[in-house]
Every structure is written in structure tokens, then in C-alpha cells.
Amino acid sequence: MMKERSANHEQEEQITPCLNESIGRIQDMFTDTPDLIVRKLTIKQTGEKAAIVYMEELTDKTCINHDILAPLQLESGNPSDDFITNVGYVKPESLWAKLRLNLMLGNSVLFIEGRGTAYILDTKGLPTRAIEDPQQEPSLKGAHQGFIEIGSQNIAMIRRYIPDQELKLRRYIVGRRGQTAVTLMYLEDVAHPEIIKVFEERIQSIDVDAIINTGELAEFIEDQPLALLPQILTTERPDTAASQILQGRCVVVVDGSPSVLVAPVTFMSFFQTVDDYSSRWSISSFLRMLRIFAFFIAIFLPGFYISVISYHFEIIPMKLLLTLGESRGQVPFPPFVEAIIMEITLEMLREAGVRLPAPIGQTVGIVGGIVIGQAVVQAGLISNVMVIVVAFTAISSFIIPNQDMMAAVRLMRFMIMVLATWFGFIGMVVGMMTIMGRLITLNSLDTSYSTPIAPFKAADWKDTLLRVPLWLMNNRPLSTRAIQAKRQGRNRGWKEKQ
């Protein structure tokens, strides 16, 4: 009770006009913080004593030196101003709690003798990196820009694609210790208000120490975090994020993380890439169908092989049967064990390739793929058809553009393999039914996940298996429940004039 009262008291505590008391208080609050700088000065304009306090590495020191210290100490101007400074953002504040928080975020605080308020000045200068091509989502024809770790810069990159005043931002602070700024971006006259409400409700009900990465936020606001399939899309590309906003979805930018969240999404959103819309429609459609085909191959091919070898060898044509029999004849293990050994080996190679630096990673990939595969067949441990099946499965899973979906596919494959080992084709079909059942019962932010397949929305099929020519896509997808549907008029108007 006492602790609570003093904590509340602390929240409401205000500064006093005495400068020395303020400085003493700051030094008491920030013990064991050698990067806190307290700089005493005299303001030339009014002759008052003042002190500026800031954290050494979080602030932009050039800004402090040129835009705060220099004008205060050297210039005398209009006496009606509070004080002279060149900094853009200045806010008077008298609560100690807020002053402390702002100091930790990288802002500077100016105390002036005899005044009851201190001033917060925006001098944030966090270490940052240059804008580069996103590693996980490279594109052939799109922009080579990816998000960086500063939230405001990411927002700027998205705003550049949509300089519309309807693009609204809502900012939330998430995390008691982390105080991470989470921004929700949407088009006010397009995005459905219910979706925004659901987003807001879910973000505001998060009570956590800190959010380090966007993935954690996704897990807190997802409908079914335990499911294998992802229900929220994460992307590192500003053009993808902007395109999703224009379709009627909402984007969440998390300060400190280079991925943004997009929701609500459907199952097909995980197979769309930004290159689909800048390439010609025929190749985009072909690649889209290839990706979906690869999805099925990656899940079902090992299971299909196991069930054909174990149960249903009568469907193999005679010539292939002899080859298969010969290669399987040397292998001492049952098909399931053979498959598991190869799949686990491949997963280990993949995981190892992620951690190693680029040149070694490539070598390991080649070594693992060719040498181990060859050696293992020659030793008679694995049949060569199994190596082909596993390699083909791995290539198919790499075709899927989204990392979360790729991970889900990798896991579902094992489930199907187990079912195929026990029940052959029937096991695979039951596995397929279970996956279908999962797809149709999942929701992404209260909107159906498996649309436009089921519930069947014919209009949305324009961007599902095929990518129809852009001049046919006049309305936003129905799956986003956008309240303003028309997104283009005739964009080949010149043709009609001919």
C-alpha cells in the first residue's frame, strides 16, 4: 500500500523552480548512468542560469551543440520567446516521470532557474543503418528498398507511396519497460472501421515488458497463435505495405523492428509477391500457379512416395517398379525411416546455412547437397529416388514467398509423412482434409482466412490462381471488406480514343 502510494506520488511529482534542486534530483534518479550529461549554462538573452540534460549516445550531439547550446549562449533575440532554440519540437513538461522517460528515449531536457516547467527538446539520434534491399524478400523489378529499424523512417517510406491525406496513423505505446511506439496505418475512407476497432482493442490490451520484434506483436494479436499457418503477413518491403494499404488492409509499424504487420490477410496473400504486378500478366499467372503447385508438392510429395512404396505399389507402372525395387532393395530401413533421415538432414543443412556467413553457407549447401546425397546413396543407406524426392520437396518449399508459410509447410510435411506411413493414401487424404479443415476455420482478425476459395467470391479470383491484367482489377478485393471498393476507372483510356 505504501509502495503503491509512493509510486503514484512519483507519477504526479512535479519539478520545482530551483535549478540546483532539479539537477540534484536528476543525479539521484540516474545513479550508475555515466552516459548522462548535465551541462550548466547561462542564457544570454535573459541572463538566467539553466542546465541541459541528455543521454550521451542516444542524442544527436551536433543538434545539441548547434541548435540548442549555441543559440542559448550566444544569441539575444525577441524577449517574448520562452527561449531561443533552433530545434523543431519543443514541449514544456513538469512531471518528473515524463521527463525521465523522454531522457531515456533520446530527447534533451532543459531546466531554467526560476521556472516551474522544464522543456523537452527533440534531439533523438539513435544509431541507424542505410536503407538496403530486404534480404528475405528480394524482387527483380520492384524497388530495392527495405524497412530499417527507425519507426518514423519506415512510416515515411510508406507515406511516399501514398501521399493521401486519408492515410491515417494511430500511435500506441506498448510495453511497460520497452515503451515501444506501435503505429497503425490505414486509409480512413477505405479500411473497414470494424477492423480498425479490432486492431486497436487487441493492441491496447497487451501488457508486456517490451516488444523486441514484430513477430512477438503478431503472436499477441493473432486469432490463433497455436495454429501452424500464419494469419498475419509480415513484410520488409515498403511497396508491399503500401500496396496492401491501398487494397484496404491495415499495416502496423513497430519501432525498432524492420518488419511490418499486415492484416487482415487471406491464405492467398502469402503467395503474392510485388513482382507479380510489375511483370506481365502471363508470367505472373504462371508463377502464381507454380507457387500453389509447389505448396502442394512440398507438403504431399514425401508422403506420396512413402504411401506408394509401402502400400500402393500396384499403381506404379512396370518399368518404374523395377527401378524403384532395385534402388529400394539395398536399403536396410523402412521407407518412413529413410524419409525421416533425409528430411532431418536437409532441415539441419538449411538451418546451418542460415547461420553461416555467405560464402561458407553456399559451399556448405553444395557440399551437403551433392556430396552427402551421393555418398549416402552409394553407401546403400538411402535409395536415390528418396534423395530426388527430398531435393524436389526442398526446392518446392523455397518457392513459397513468405517465411512463415514456408515454415508451416515444413512442419505439415512431417505430419503427412506420419499419416502416410500408417495409412497410405487414406492417411494422406485424411491429412489433406485436416489441413483443409484448419484453413476454413481460421480467421485473420475476424475475417475468413480461406476466402476467395471458400466462401467462394468470384470477384476475388482475379488475383488468386491467375493475375488478370491490371486494367480488369477495378475493385479492391472483397476479402479486405473495404468500404470504398472502386480503385480505378479506365486506365487504358487512350485505347478507346483510337
Binding site: P317, I426, V429, F456
Partner: protein, 364 residues
């Protein structure tokens, strides 16, 4: 009242159609041939006519209760105890339908694909997706039927390829024994048209209730087209003497299809056809759990579903059915289906009309 999840017209159509086609598809040509020889395909038209009339009566009945299922209707017009009795009867009826579906599916699997697996193990396996999907209600079942319809589009084309060996002469002369065999075959057409009874329970969930009758007519037509197609394909492939001798002419016909990269195409076909089979037992199990939940007055349909799934699995463990049992159950379901889905809507319609007249008469 909890929010009613919406079922679209397309989902309703496909749900009813898939329910009708799923088990009758395999045995229909054989049954029709046994009763009426090669003129059996004419009986399908009569079946369509009867189903349409029954659908009309059904939709008319349900118009009186737009927000509740048939049980709410009965409760409103006849009282609580008749509705509980009706719930019990529906529960038993759909349990029998689900049992029939599981039985046929697992026997066909045992015959063609996995002879050594115990039948209760197969049923237990099939119950896993059933439990997962049926617990969520008609919206999800509707979506499932949509997907199944989408992935089954290729099946008619496969059957059309068997027409290479067709002998159209088998069909002639039409009506060689007169109309009597055809008319007496019509009585076995009730079982293949079972599924219109789903409207008793789906009607409150429909978005566009005014299109319910159109949807049902379309689904009956779709079902009968499929039946007609498969019956004619079987009749022109098998000779009139041998068609009554095959248990599953629909599967046996696949032996004529030869592809270069796969032999014995009926094996993956049956595995794939499991999707269509599932369209009878998933809605049935859902309705069983819904009716038993209504009986006990609680809302925990999921718990009821778990209990019923377990009960079905145990029943297959205790008693192993054979194809003779299938024939017996089908015959019984023919009669029971006639009562429940053809006669019942008409009776309830008459009762409701009379009650309204009496009540209206009293008021005026």
C-alpha cells in the same frame, strides 16, 4: 440468442448436392439396373420430380420459422415435448445416415485400398477431420462443401473418357418392358435424394432465404444430372446382363482407363473420393450433436459431438459390418428417408396450415 453464422446460397446448394451424391453415387447404377434393367435411368427423372415437390413443401414449412430450425417450429406450434421427440427422431435418423456413410466408405476402402487395416481404425481416422469440421457449424461445413466441389470438378471428365468403349446399343430399345419396371424403380429413388432434409436445419442460417427454393431445385438438378451421367456411362459400358453383378460398377469402370504413368487408377480415385464421402457424415454428425444438445437443453454441442464420434468408433469395434449390412441399411434408409424428408414436410405443412386457420378463425 447467439449470432447465427451465415451460409451463402452457393454453399447451401453444394452442401445439399454433395450430401445427396456422396454415398448413393457408387451403388445407384447397380440398384437401378437390378430393378428396371437398362431403363433404370428414366427413374431418375421421377426421383427429381419427387425431390422437387418435397423441397417446395419443405421451404414452405420453413418460411414459418425464419430464425429457428424445424425444432423451434415444432416447439412453437406443438409444444416442448413433441419438439423433444422430433429431436430424438432426427438424431436417430442422422446417426443412421452417418453410420451408413462411414460403413460404405470404410468397406470400400477395405476392399480396394487397405484390406488388412481394422475397420474401426479406419473409422477412427475418418472421425478426426469430422470432429474438427463438424464442431464449427454449418458455415464451416458449407465452406468445406465448396472446396470439395471445387476439387472434384475433374471427376465427370474422367468418366467421359470411358465412353471410348461405349456401346450405345445397350440402352435400346427404350422401355422394352413397358413403364411398370420403371415406375416400380421409383421407390428406390428416395435414398439417393436424401439431403433435402438438411434444409430443415440450414434454413435459419441462410443469407438469402427467398432463394432457398431455387437453390434446392438447382442442387436436386445437379445431383440428378450427375446420377444420369454416371448411370448412362455405366449402362453403355457394361452389358445388360453383367451390370447387376458388380457391387460398385462406378469403380469397376475405372479399370478401362489406362494412363502411361499410373496403373490401377481406381486406387487414387477412391482415396480422392473420400472427400465426397465425407460430405455425408460431417453434416450428419453435426446434426446428431445439435439434436442431442437440444434434447438435453444445453449448448455444449462440441462435447456432444465428441461423445457421438466416440460412440460411432466403438460401434464399429463391437460389430463389423459387411456389404450385406450396407444393403439392409440402405433399404431401411430408403423408407426412413421417405418418411423424414418427403412425408414429414408435407405433414408439418398441413398441420401448420390447419393450426393457422384454427387460430385465425378463433381470433376473428
Amino acid at each position: 440468442m447467439k449470432t447465427i453464422r451465415q451460409v451463402s446460397t452457393l454453399q447451401f446448394t453444394l452442401m445439399v448436392s454433395a450430401f445427396q451424391i456422396s454415398v448413393a453415387f457408387l451403388s445407384l447404377p447397380r440398384e437401378l439396373a437390378r430393378q428396371a434393367g437398362t431403363d433404370g435411368w428414366i427413374a431418375i427423372f421421377f426421383g427429381w420430380g419427387m425431390a422437387t415437390l418435397a423441397s417446395a413443401a419443405l421451404v414452405k414449412v420453413m418460411k414459418n420459422s425464419p430464425d429457428g430450425s424445424i425444432l423451434d417450429l415444432i416447439q412453437r406450434y406443438m409444444g416442448v415435448w413433441p419438439s423433444k421427440m422430433a429431436a430424438f427422431i432426427f438424431m436417430a435418423y442422422y446417426l443412421l445416415l452417418a453410420y451408413d456413410g462411414f460403413m460404405i466408405a470404410s468397406l470400400v476402402i477395405k476392399l480396394w485400398l487397405l484390406p488388412s487395416t481394422y475397420i474401426y481404425v479406419l473409422v477412427l481416422l475418418l472421425l478426426i477431420p469430422t470432429f474438427q469440421i463438424a464442431q464449427h457449424g454449418f458455415q464451416v461445413i458449407g465452406r468445406y462443401s465448396e472446396i470439395v466441389a471445387l476439387i472434384s470438378i475433374w471427376i465427370p471428365f474422367v468418366y467421359l473418357t470411358t465412353l471410348r468403349h461405349a456401346r450405345w446399343l445397350y440402352l435400346l430399345p427404350v422401355l422394352k418392358d413397358g413403364w411398370l419396371p420403371v415406375l416400380s424403380t421409383v421407390k428406390i429413388m428416395f435414398y439417393p435424394m436424401l439431403g433435402i432434409g438438411l434444409a430443415f436445419f440450414i434454413y435459419p442460417h441462410l443469407v438469402k432465404k427467398e432463394k432457398a427454393l431455387t437453390a434446392m431445385v438447382i442442387s436436386n438438378t445437379l445431383t440428378c444430372l450427375v446420377y444420369l451421367g454416371i448411370t448412362l456411362v455405366c449402362y453403355v459400358y457394361f452389358s445388360p446382363d453383367e451390370i447387376g453383378k458388380f457391387n460398385d460398377p462406378v469403380i469397376s469402370i475405372m479399370k478401362s482407363i489406362e494412363l502411361q504413368f499410373i496403373e490401377r487408377i481406381e486406387v487414387p480415385f477412391i482415396a480422392f473420393y473420400l472427400f465426397v464421402f465425407s460430405c455425408i457424415w460431417i453434416p450428419s454428425m453435426h446434426l446428431v450433436s445439435m439434436n442431442s444438445a437440444w434434447l438435453l437443453g444445453k449448448d455444449k454441442e462440441r462435447g456432444h459431438l465428441a461423445v457421438w464420434c466416440f460412440a460411432v468408433a466403438v460401434s464399429f469395434f463391437i460389430y463389423r459390418p459387411s456389404f450385406i449390412d450396407v444393403a439392409r441399411v440402405n433399404n431401411f434408409l430408403n423408407l426412413a428417408g421417405f418418411v423424414m424428408e418427403f412425408a414429414l414436410p408435407v405433414c408439418v405443412l398441413l398441420y401448420v396450415a390447419m393450426t393457422k386457420k384454427v387460430r385465425g378463425g378463433r381470433r376473428s
